[in-house]
Symmetry: C2
Subunit: 362 residues, 2 copies
């Protein structure tokens, strides 16, 4: 099955995974995707739908998932991209703390998947997306359920296999060269040397090496990594704090854009250029002088004052409608007016509303 | 000790907790605050410093912490604010999921504090800040270490007390009426009826009710609540996603503000009003017409077109400098020009640079 990703322009950032030349033999297979809609987890790429299609002169299978722009797979990021099959050990060591964040996120994703009675079935560095700094998501999850629907294995069995694949993925990343995977002993060796006993034991447990014949599920694993989990949780909270701080600074800009646009709508309208009633109306005349005050200041040598700080400060006071008074000078320098930002704000509002009136009258 | 919170205008949002009339008897006490600087956790209000001062005609003790504007204490939020000592049961039931988010965050904070060899010593609904939706932080942490420095209790003992206070805080919130705290049996009764056995057992463990004489520390507690922890972790990731999405929309606004400001700096400068060289220079003339194109459109009835979408679309194309061509009409409707956004972008840049020249020449 040849697969290609298509992206549409829909604002909700959806991706379509297209499998050409796939013949669907069992209707039930496609319906299994409906179960995947219940999985809504920050560490799993959300699956929306799947359907067959004949538009490509072929019988095709299309999956619809969330689209995460500018993401890479873990393989591209850590296993040296296009050169990764040349067998040379060119990747750089992944710090233990980063590996732990991957472990906790995959564990979170698997918990959500397993609690819905499903199994990921594909856990591989080439199918895990890195969508942000140390932020990963399991991808391609629903596909095997459709393509290999006739699987004889039970869900419990598939879920156990998930744990093993999980462990193998971490070993591959930690060993940092896929050639080592061909030699499990060498891989575990390298891993044990490079990382702490706690990480090594957690991964060993996933591979089924410890506590054979005892109950093995993702909940037990999570209990075992709880201290790392709380550490990754705290990092997510710190990121929330940072984003909220950045966002509040930026929200100010939206307000300014709207205010600047309103001012530009009102000032210098050609249809009122010779309209005495419009231009000599006190309010609109002040707005013209105010525009000069904000944008057309000159210094003592008559050079233009180009100061964004001054512009922002004036616009913020205008938006707030403060009582502070400023002096506006007419262009011929013959007249001089003292107005407050409060009066100017009122002027902007009523002039702008006046523009809207003819439109509403239609 | 009377305490008041003062806030300065520093951009880093620092708060000062001022304790008047406090006489510091032991220099070592103040130095204990240095240990608190090592605690950097998303669920603990960061402590920066503490010092004594005589500016208020008194010997005062001042603590410097992060400032979280618009936050409430959990007591104000859930235990009915100012009426909470009137003994009436007026608070609304706190859903179990919310209580669990509080539990996981306090656990995260305590883990950070205990790992630094410290103890919170104050865990109470009136000293826990709600700084966002379901987002809490332990407050007033370093204070007892200074004020009750002579405490005879060992750190391990104080840390055990932290766990007990933790449990009592959750019971108080769950029981939702401080009067019930006077009757521990009644409180546990209410709690057991209102919440799941898992939550009840976790809190009971904190209070020391289960497994007496066995080792008790925050790490063991965290292992016990790991499934709830992973759920709260996933919520934090969802919030990260939401914030990043909001932020990327808003970042566009800063760019637009700068571009609109540049346009306004260049257009209609009074000192060039009669300067043929300035205004009939092709570039600046086009910018004047472009300003009309963007802000001064009229419809078929000659009514003003007030369309923010049009403005944003034009400004974005201008910023990108696309090859799309537009028709600009002179005010007297006698001349008509076809220019591309690419040429207009170049015009904005060079006109703006021309404004900066005289300034640089100084």
């Amino acid at each position: 099955m040849f697969s290609v990703q298509l992206f549409d322009d829909a604002p909700d950032e959806t991706a379509y995974v297209l499998g050409l030349g796939f013949r669907l033999t069992n209707e039930k297979a496609i319906r299994s995707v409906q179960n995947w809609k219940r999985v809504s987890n920050g560490s799993v790429v959300t699956v929306h739908d799947a359907f067959t299609n004949r538009s490509f002169q072929d019988s095709s299978l299309i999956f619809v998932t969330d689209y995460h722009p500018l993401s890479k797979t873990l393989a591209e990021q850590h296993l040296c991209g296009p050169n990764r099959f040349q067998g040379r050990h060119t990747g750089s060591h992944i710090p233990e703390q980063v590996l732990w964040t991957y472990v906790t996120q995959i564990a979170s994703g698997l918990k959500a998947i397993h609690s819905c009675g499903l199994a990921a079935r594909v856990i591989d560095p080439s199918k895990i997306l890195l969508t942000g700094k140390n932020r990963i998501r399991l991808n391609a999850c629903a596909i095997m359920d459709v393509v290999q629907h006739e699987s004889q294995r039970t869900i419990t069995d598939l879920q156990h296999q998930d744990l093993v694949n999980f462990g193998q993925t971490i070993i591959t990343l930690g060993a940092n060269s896929p050639s080592v995977m061909n030699n499990p002993t060498k891989a575990m060796d390298h891993f044990s040397r490079a990382y702490s006993p706690q990480l090594k034991n957690s991964i060993f447990w996933l591979l089924g090496g410890l506590q054979k014949d005892q109950e093995r599920n993702i909940d037990i694993f999570i209990t075992g990594i709880s201290s790392q989990l709380i550490s990754t949780f705290d990092s997510a909270l710190h990121l929330d704090d940072q984003l909220i701080s950045d966002l509040s600074r930026e929200l100010e800009n939206a307000r300014l854009v709207r205010l600047l646009t309103k001012l530009n709508f009102v000032n210098e309208r050609p249809e009122y250029e010779h309209d005495r009633q419009w231009s000599e109306n006190g309010e609109r005349y002040f707005l013209k002088l105010f525009r000069d005050y904000v944008f057309h200041q000159v210094d003592t040598q008559n050079g233009p004052v180009v100061d964004l700080g001054h512009v922002l400060s004036c616009m913020n006071k205008l938006d707030a409608g403060t009582d502070e008074k400023i002096t506006l000078i007419s262009r011929d320098e013959q007249s001089c007016f003292v107005v407050s930002y409060k009066e100017l704000k009122k002027a902007v509002e009523s002039s702008f509303q006046a523009l809207l009136k003819p439109v509403r009258g239609l």
